[in-house]
Symmetry: C2
Protein backbone atom coordinates (compact mmCIF):
# COMPACT_ATOMS: atom_id res chain seq x y z
CA UNK A 1 0.00 0.00 0.00
CA UNK A 2 1.08 3.63 -0.44
CA UNK A 3 1.54 5.69 2.74
CA UNK A 4 2.07 9.41 3.09
CA UNK A 5 3.74 10.71 6.22
CA UNK A 6 3.45 14.31 7.32
CA UNK A 7 6.54 15.32 9.27
CA UNK A 8 10.24 14.48 9.29
CA UNK A 9 10.99 14.10 13.01
CA UNK A 10 11.80 10.99 15.03
CA UNK A 11 8.20 9.80 15.05
CA UNK A 12 7.83 10.26 11.29
CA UNK A 13 11.07 8.42 10.51
CA UNK A 14 10.30 5.60 12.94
CA UNK A 15 6.92 4.99 11.31
CA UNK A 16 8.36 5.39 7.82
CA UNK A 17 11.13 2.86 8.46
CA UNK A 18 8.65 0.30 9.74
CA UNK A 19 6.29 0.78 6.79
CA UNK A 20 9.20 0.26 4.36
CA UNK A 21 10.20 -2.87 6.29
CA UNK A 22 6.61 -4.13 5.89
CA UNK A 23 6.89 -3.69 2.12
CA UNK A 24 4.88 -0.51 1.65
CA UNK A 25 5.70 2.53 -0.49
CA UNK A 26 6.23 5.62 1.63
CA UNK A 27 6.51 9.33 0.91
CA UNK A 28 7.66 11.64 3.70
CA UNK A 29 6.32 15.18 3.41
CA UNK A 30 7.53 18.41 4.90
CA UNK A 31 6.94 22.16 4.58
CA UNK A 32 9.47 22.47 1.81
CA UNK A 33 10.22 20.09 -1.05
CA UNK A 34 13.91 19.77 -0.18
CA UNK A 35 13.91 19.23 3.60
CA UNK A 36 17.38 17.73 4.28
CA UNK A 37 16.11 15.07 6.65
CA UNK A 38 13.42 13.93 4.20
CA UNK A 39 15.90 13.88 1.30
CA UNK A 40 18.38 11.85 3.34
CA UNK A 41 15.71 9.43 4.56
CA UNK A 42 14.48 8.78 1.00
CA UNK A 43 18.05 8.38 -0.29
CA UNK A 44 18.99 5.70 2.25
CA UNK A 45 15.64 3.86 2.32
CA UNK A 46 15.50 2.30 -1.11
CA UNK A 47 13.30 2.37 -4.16
CA UNK A 48 10.00 2.46 -2.26
CA UNK A 49 10.93 5.63 -0.35
CA UNK A 50 10.09 9.14 -1.56
CA UNK A 51 9.95 12.68 -0.28
CA UNK A 52 7.94 15.79 -1.11
CA UNK A 53 5.80 18.53 0.35
CA UNK A 54 3.00 17.92 2.84
CA UNK A 55 0.54 18.05 -0.07
CA UNK A 56 2.67 15.68 -2.18
CA UNK A 57 2.81 13.11 0.62
CA UNK A 58 -0.92 13.35 1.35
CA UNK A 59 -1.76 13.02 -2.33
CA UNK A 60 0.62 10.07 -2.71
CA UNK A 61 -0.72 8.12 0.27
CA UNK A 62 -3.72 5.85 0.23
CA UNK A 63 -3.37 6.26 3.97
CA UNK A 64 -1.64 9.15 5.70
CA UNK A 65 0.13 9.52 9.06
CA UNK A 66 0.06 12.88 10.81
CA UNK A 67 3.41 13.05 12.61
CA UNK A 68 3.71 16.82 12.61
CA UNK A 69 4.55 18.51 15.91
CA UNK A 70 1.18 19.21 17.50
CA UNK A 71 1.28 22.99 17.58
CA UNK A 72 1.78 22.97 13.79
CA UNK A 73 -0.81 20.29 13.04
CA UNK A 74 -3.69 22.53 12.01
CA UNK A 75 -1.38 24.64 9.86
CA UNK A 76 0.12 21.58 8.15
CA UNK A 77 -3.25 19.93 7.50
CA UNK A 78 -4.60 23.20 6.15
CA UNK A 79 -1.66 23.44 3.77
CA UNK A 80 -2.34 19.88 2.56
CA UNK A 81 -5.88 20.80 1.59
CA UNK A 82 -9.06 18.84 2.23
CA UNK A 83 -9.15 17.26 -1.23
CA UNK A 84 -5.83 15.46 -0.81
CA UNK A 85 -7.17 13.76 2.31
CA UNK A 86 -10.86 13.28 1.46
CA UNK A 87 -12.08 9.73 1.99
CA UNK A 88 -8.72 8.60 3.35
CA UNK A 89 -7.68 7.27 6.73
CA UNK A 90 -5.49 9.78 8.58
CA UNK A 91 -3.61 8.17 11.45
CA UNK A 92 -3.17 11.06 13.83
CA UNK A 93 -0.24 11.07 16.24
CA UNK A 94 -0.23 14.79 17.00
CA UNK A 95 -0.35 16.13 20.55
CA UNK A 96 -1.17 19.65 21.79
CA UNK A 97 1.93 19.85 23.95
CA UNK A 98 3.80 22.89 25.16
CA UNK A 99 7.26 22.21 26.59
CA UNK A 100 8.73 24.33 29.37
CA UNK A 101 11.83 23.26 31.26
CA UNK A 102 11.18 19.67 32.29
CA UNK A 103 7.38 19.90 32.04
CA UNK A 104 4.71 19.29 29.44
CA UNK A 105 1.41 21.13 29.50
CA UNK A 106 -1.57 21.05 27.15
CA UNK A 107 -2.07 23.95 24.76
CA UNK A 108 -5.29 25.61 25.96
CA UNK A 109 -6.44 25.89 22.34
CA UNK A 110 -6.78 22.11 22.12
CA UNK A 111 -7.51 20.90 25.64
CA UNK A 112 -10.28 21.22 28.20
CA UNK A 113 -13.52 20.46 26.41
CA UNK A 114 -11.77 19.56 23.18
CA UNK A 115 -8.57 17.97 21.88
CA UNK A 116 -6.24 18.20 18.93
CA UNK A 117 -7.77 15.01 17.54
CA UNK A 118 -11.19 16.65 17.50
CA UNK A 119 -9.82 19.87 15.99
CA UNK A 120 -8.10 17.93 13.22
CA UNK A 121 -11.31 15.99 12.53
CA UNK A 122 -13.36 19.21 12.46
CA UNK A 123 -10.92 20.66 9.92
CA UNK A 124 -11.20 17.55 7.73
CA UNK A 125 -14.79 16.30 7.97
CA UNK A 126 -14.41 13.99 4.93
CA UNK A 127 -11.30 12.29 6.32
CA UNK A 128 -11.45 9.26 8.61
CA UNK A 129 -9.19 10.23 11.46
CA UNK A 130 -7.97 7.53 13.81
CA UNK A 131 -5.94 8.77 16.74
CA UNK A 132 -3.33 6.33 17.99
CA UNK A 133 0.32 5.92 19.02
CA UNK A 134 0.36 9.53 20.15
CA UNK A 135 0.77 8.76 23.84
CA UNK A 136 4.04 6.88 23.86
CA UNK A 137 7.70 7.19 23.00
CA UNK A 138 8.62 6.66 19.38
CA UNK A 139 10.82 3.65 20.17
CA UNK A 140 7.73 1.75 21.36
CA UNK A 141 5.42 2.65 18.46
CA UNK A 142 6.76 0.06 16.07
CA UNK A 143 8.35 -2.24 18.63
CA UNK A 144 5.89 -2.49 21.54
CA UNK A 145 7.10 -5.94 22.60
CA UNK A 146 10.48 -4.81 23.84
CA UNK A 147 9.43 -4.30 27.48
CA UNK A 148 8.83 -6.98 30.12
CA UNK A 149 5.24 -7.38 28.95
CA UNK A 150 2.83 -5.99 26.37
CA UNK A 151 1.71 -2.39 26.74
CA UNK A 152 -1.75 -1.35 25.54
CA UNK A 153 -2.35 0.20 22.12
CA UNK A 154 -5.20 2.68 22.43
CA UNK A 155 -6.99 4.10 19.43
CA UNK A 156 -10.13 6.12 18.81
CA UNK A 157 -12.06 7.67 15.94
CA UNK A 158 -15.51 8.12 14.48
CA UNK A 159 -15.31 5.55 11.65
CA UNK A 160 -15.54 1.91 12.68
CA UNK A 161 -14.12 0.44 9.48
CA UNK A 162 -11.18 2.84 9.57
CA UNK A 163 -10.48 1.82 13.14
CA UNK A 164 -10.56 -1.87 12.18
CA UNK A 165 -8.03 -1.18 9.40
CA UNK A 166 -5.75 0.72 11.78
CA UNK A 167 -6.02 -2.08 14.35
CA UNK A 168 -4.74 -4.48 11.66
CA UNK A 169 -1.83 -2.16 10.96
CA UNK A 170 -1.04 -1.98 14.68
CA UNK A 171 -0.93 -5.79 14.68
CA UNK A 172 1.54 -5.58 11.77
CA UNK A 173 3.60 -3.23 13.95
CA UNK A 174 3.71 -5.89 16.68
CA UNK A 175 0.87 -4.76 18.94
CA UNK A 176 -0.80 -7.69 20.73
CA UNK A 177 -2.99 -5.71 23.17
CA UNK A 178 -5.05 -3.01 21.45
CA UNK A 179 -8.14 -1.19 22.69
CA UNK A 180 -10.80 0.87 20.91
CA UNK A 181 -11.60 3.77 23.24
CA UNK A 182 -14.54 5.13 21.24
CA UNK A 183 -15.08 8.18 19.07
CA UNK A 184 -12.58 10.93 18.33
CA UNK A 185 -13.47 12.83 21.52
CA UNK A 186 -11.54 10.12 23.39
CA UNK A 187 -8.43 11.82 22.00
CA UNK A 188 -8.70 14.06 25.04
CA UNK A 189 -7.58 11.22 27.25
CA UNK A 190 -4.76 9.77 25.17
CA UNK A 191 -3.43 13.30 24.69
CA UNK A 192 -3.41 13.70 28.49
CA UNK A 193 -1.97 10.21 28.94
CA UNK A 194 1.00 11.01 26.70
CA UNK A 195 1.83 14.01 28.86
CA UNK A 196 2.90 11.54 31.58
CA UNK A 197 6.28 11.40 29.88
CA UNK A 198 8.20 13.73 32.26
CA UNK A 199 6.87 11.83 35.28
CA UNK A 200 7.81 8.41 33.92
CA UNK A 201 11.23 9.67 32.86
CA UNK A 202 11.84 11.23 36.26
CA UNK A 203 10.81 8.08 38.11
CA UNK A 204 12.58 5.48 35.99
CA UNK A 205 15.51 7.50 34.60
CA UNK A 206 14.73 6.05 31.17
CA UNK A 207 12.21 6.22 28.34
CA UNK A 208 11.91 2.44 28.44
CA UNK A 209 8.38 2.17 29.85
CA UNK A 210 4.77 2.25 28.74
CA UNK A 211 1.26 1.77 30.09
CA UNK A 212 -0.72 -1.41 30.23
CA UNK A 213 -4.39 -1.14 31.03
CA UNK A 214 -4.84 -4.02 33.45
CA UNK A 215 -8.35 -5.45 33.62
CA UNK B 1 -2.26 6.05 64.62
CA UNK B 2 -4.91 8.77 64.42
CA UNK B 3 -6.11 9.75 60.94
CA UNK B 4 -8.28 12.66 59.91
CA UNK B 5 -10.22 12.43 56.67
CA UNK B 6 -11.55 15.48 54.88
CA UNK B 7 -14.64 14.55 52.91
CA UNK B 8 -17.55 12.11 53.24
CA UNK B 9 -17.87 10.75 49.69
CA UNK B 10 -17.06 7.28 48.36
CA UNK B 11 -13.32 7.90 48.39
CA UNK B 12 -13.37 9.19 51.97
CA UNK B 13 -15.46 6.26 53.23
CA UNK B 14 -13.35 3.69 51.36
CA UNK B 15 -10.15 5.03 52.91
CA UNK B 16 -11.77 5.38 56.33
CA UNK B 17 -13.04 1.78 56.31
CA UNK B 18 -9.59 0.48 55.43
CA UNK B 19 -7.87 2.53 58.12
CA UNK B 20 -10.33 1.20 60.73
CA UNK B 21 -9.67 -2.34 59.49
CA UNK B 22 -5.93 -1.71 59.95
CA UNK B 23 -6.56 -0.73 63.59
CA UNK B 24 -6.28 3.05 63.34
CA UNK B 25 -8.50 5.70 64.90
CA UNK B 26 -10.30 7.73 62.25
CA UNK B 27 -12.28 10.97 62.25
CA UNK B 28 -14.23 11.91 59.14
CA UNK B 29 -14.68 15.64 58.69
CA UNK B 30 -17.16 17.61 56.66
CA UNK B 31 -18.39 21.17 56.22
CA UNK B 32 -20.90 20.82 59.01
CA UNK B 33 -20.60 18.96 62.31
CA UNK B 34 -23.69 16.82 61.66
CA UNK B 35 -23.26 15.62 58.07
CA UNK B 36 -25.62 12.59 57.85
CA UNK B 37 -23.16 10.41 55.99
CA UNK B 38 -20.37 11.13 58.49
CA UNK B 39 -22.68 10.52 61.43
CA UNK B 40 -23.84 7.22 59.94
CA UNK B 41 -20.30 6.12 59.08
CA UNK B 42 -19.08 6.78 62.63
CA UNK B 43 -22.12 5.05 64.15
CA UNK B 44 -21.61 1.81 62.23
CA UNK B 45 -17.79 1.76 62.34
CA UNK B 46 -17.12 1.12 66.02
CA UNK B 47 -15.34 2.79 68.87
CA UNK B 48 -12.37 4.01 66.84
CA UNK B 49 -14.55 5.97 64.40
CA UNK B 50 -15.48 9.62 64.87
CA UNK B 51 -16.93 12.51 62.94
CA UNK B 52 -16.63 16.30 63.08
CA UNK B 53 -15.91 19.38 61.02
CA UNK B 54 -13.02 19.65 58.57
CA UNK B 55 -11.05 21.47 61.29
CA UNK B 56 -11.94 18.84 63.90
CA UNK B 57 -10.74 16.01 61.65
CA UNK B 58 -7.51 17.79 60.73
CA UNK B 59 -6.80 18.59 64.35
CA UNK B 60 -7.56 14.99 65.39
CA UNK B 61 -5.35 13.35 62.79
CA UNK B 62 -1.63 12.80 63.12
CA UNK B 63 -1.96 12.27 59.40
CA UNK B 64 -4.75 13.65 57.22
CA UNK B 65 -6.33 12.52 53.94
CA UNK B 66 -7.72 15.14 51.57
CA UNK B 67 -10.69 13.40 49.94
CA UNK B 68 -12.69 16.53 49.23
CA UNK B 69 -14.05 16.97 45.71
CA UNK B 70 -11.31 18.83 43.87
CA UNK B 71 -13.14 22.04 43.08
CA UNK B 72 -13.75 22.53 46.81
CA UNK B 73 -10.26 21.52 47.94
CA UNK B 74 -8.79 24.99 48.38
CA UNK B 75 -11.90 26.16 50.20
CA UNK B 76 -11.91 23.15 52.52
CA UNK B 77 -8.19 23.39 53.32
CA UNK B 78 -8.55 27.11 53.96
CA UNK B 79 -11.39 26.43 56.39
CA UNK B 80 -9.22 23.87 58.20
CA UNK B 81 -6.54 26.48 58.82
CA UNK B 82 -2.80 26.14 58.43
CA UNK B 83 -2.15 25.47 62.12
CA UNK B 84 -4.24 22.31 62.20
CA UNK B 85 -2.12 20.84 59.41
CA UNK B 86 1.33 22.29 60.16
CA UNK B 87 4.08 19.67 60.27
CA UNK B 88 1.68 16.89 59.29
CA UNK B 89 1.52 14.62 56.29
CA UNK B 90 -1.47 15.43 54.10
CA UNK B 91 -2.27 12.61 51.68
CA UNK B 92 -3.87 14.46 48.80
CA UNK B 93 -6.37 12.67 46.59
CA UNK B 94 -8.04 15.74 45.13
CA UNK B 95 -8.39 16.28 41.37
CA UNK B 96 -9.23 19.47 39.47
CA UNK B 97 -11.97 17.80 37.44
CA UNK B 98 -14.96 19.34 35.78
CA UNK B 99 -17.65 16.90 34.67
CA UNK B 100 -19.81 17.52 31.62
CA UNK B 101 -21.96 14.79 30.13
CA UNK B 102 -19.68 11.79 29.76
CA UNK B 103 -16.45 13.79 29.77
CA UNK B 104 -13.90 14.98 32.31
CA UNK B 105 -11.82 18.09 31.73
CA UNK B 106 -9.28 19.85 33.92
CA UNK B 107 -10.28 23.05 35.69
CA UNK B 108 -8.12 25.75 34.05
CA UNK B 109 -7.40 27.21 37.50
CA UNK B 110 -5.37 24.13 38.41
CA UNK B 111 -4.00 22.74 35.16
CA UNK B 112 -1.58 23.81 32.44
CA UNK B 113 1.58 24.98 34.20
CA UNK B 114 0.27 24.02 37.63
CA UNK B 115 -1.89 21.41 39.35
CA UNK B 116 -4.20 21.10 42.30
CA UNK B 117 -1.45 19.31 44.21
CA UNK B 118 0.83 22.30 43.76
CA UNK B 119 -1.94 24.75 44.69
CA UNK B 120 -2.71 22.80 47.87
CA UNK B 121 1.00 22.75 48.77
CA UNK B 122 1.34 26.49 48.13
CA UNK B 123 -1.61 27.12 50.45
CA UNK B 124 -0.04 24.96 53.18
CA UNK B 125 3.74 25.48 53.03
CA UNK B 126 4.31 23.88 56.44
CA UNK B 127 2.40 20.71 55.56
CA UNK B 128 4.05 17.72 53.89
CA UNK B 129 1.73 16.97 51.00
CA UNK B 130 2.00 13.61 49.28
CA UNK B 131 -0.22 13.20 46.27
CA UNK B 132 -1.36 9.65 45.63
CA UNK B 133 -4.36 7.40 44.87
CA UNK B 134 -6.01 10.32 43.07
CA UNK B 135 -5.85 8.75 39.62
CA UNK B 136 -7.88 5.59 40.12
CA UNK B 137 -11.30 4.36 41.07
CA UNK B 138 -12.05 4.16 44.76
CA UNK B 139 -12.58 0.39 44.65
CA UNK B 140 -8.90 -0.07 43.72
CA UNK B 141 -7.39 2.33 46.28
CA UNK B 142 -7.50 -0.08 49.18
CA UNK B 143 -7.74 -3.29 47.18
CA UNK B 144 -5.31 -2.94 44.27
CA UNK B 145 -4.73 -6.68 43.95
CA UNK B 146 -8.21 -7.50 42.65
CA UNK B 147 -7.34 -7.27 38.94
CA UNK B 148 -5.45 -9.81 36.85
CA UNK B 149 -2.13 -8.29 37.91
CA UNK B 150 -0.76 -5.49 40.05
CA UNK B 151 -1.41 -1.91 38.94
CA UNK B 152 1.13 0.81 39.78
CA UNK B 153 0.77 3.09 42.80
CA UNK B 154 2.19 6.48 41.87
CA UNK B 155 2.98 9.12 44.48
CA UNK B 156 4.79 12.44 44.54
CA UNK B 157 5.65 15.21 46.97
CA UNK B 158 8.44 17.48 48.16
CA UNK B 159 9.31 15.69 51.43
CA UNK B 160 11.25 12.44 51.11
CA UNK B 161 10.50 11.13 54.60
CA UNK B 162 6.81 11.84 54.19
CA UNK B 163 6.82 9.94 50.90
CA UNK B 164 8.53 6.97 52.56
CA UNK B 165 5.85 6.93 55.26
CA UNK B 166 3.08 7.07 52.68
CA UNK B 167 4.71 4.28 50.68
CA UNK B 168 4.56 2.12 53.85
CA UNK B 169 0.88 2.94 54.22
CA UNK B 170 0.28 2.00 50.56
CA UNK B 171 1.92 -1.35 51.31
CA UNK B 172 -0.51 -1.75 54.23
CA UNK B 173 -3.32 -1.07 51.74
CA UNK B 174 -2.04 -3.95 49.58
CA UNK B 175 0.07 -2.10 47.01
CA UNK B 176 2.96 -4.21 45.74
CA UNK B 177 4.12 -1.94 42.87
CA UNK B 178 4.63 1.67 43.95
CA UNK B 179 6.59 4.43 42.24
CA UNK B 180 7.91 7.79 43.46
CA UNK B 181 7.41 10.22 40.58
CA UNK B 182 9.28 13.12 42.15
CA UNK B 183 8.25 16.44 43.66
CA UNK B 184 4.72 17.82 43.99
CA UNK B 185 4.80 19.26 40.46
CA UNK B 186 4.43 15.68 39.23
CA UNK B 187 0.82 15.98 40.41
CA UNK B 188 0.17 17.48 36.98
CA UNK B 189 0.59 14.07 35.42
CA UNK B 190 -1.33 11.92 37.87
CA UNK B 191 -4.17 14.46 37.73
CA UNK B 192 -4.19 14.06 33.92
CA UNK B 193 -3.84 10.28 34.21
CA UNK B 194 -6.93 10.05 36.40
CA UNK B 195 -8.95 11.85 33.75
CA UNK B 196 -8.64 8.70 31.60
CA UNK B 197 -11.66 7.35 33.47
CA UNK B 198 -14.32 8.02 30.77
CA UNK B 199 -12.12 6.41 28.11
CA UNK B 200 -11.44 3.29 30.14
CA UNK B 201 -15.09 2.99 31.09
CA UNK B 202 -16.21 3.42 27.50
CA UNK B 203 -13.75 0.81 26.23
CA UNK B 204 -14.23 -1.85 28.89
CA UNK B 205 -17.80 -1.18 30.01
CA UNK B 206 -16.61 -1.42 33.61
CA UNK B 207 -14.60 0.43 36.24
CA UNK B 208 -12.57 -2.74 36.84
CA UNK B 209 -9.28 -1.63 35.35
CA UNK B 210 -6.17 0.32 36.25
CA UNK B 211 -2.77 1.26 34.86
CA UNK B 212 0.46 -0.62 35.22
CA UNK B 213 3.62 1.17 34.22
CA UNK B 214 5.46 -1.59 32.36
CA UNK B 215 9.26 -1.23 32.32
Amino acid sequence: MRYGILGTGDVACTIADKLIELGHEVMIGSRTVDNPRAVEWARKSGEQAFHGTFADAASFGERVFNCVKGVYSIKALTSVGKDNLAGKILIDQSNPYLYENRHISLDPRWSGNTSLGEANQALLPDTKIVKTLNYLCSHLMTNPGQLSEAVTGFYCGNDKEAKAEVAKLLADFGWTDTMDLGDISMSRYTEMLGAFWPAGLNATGTIKWGFKLVR
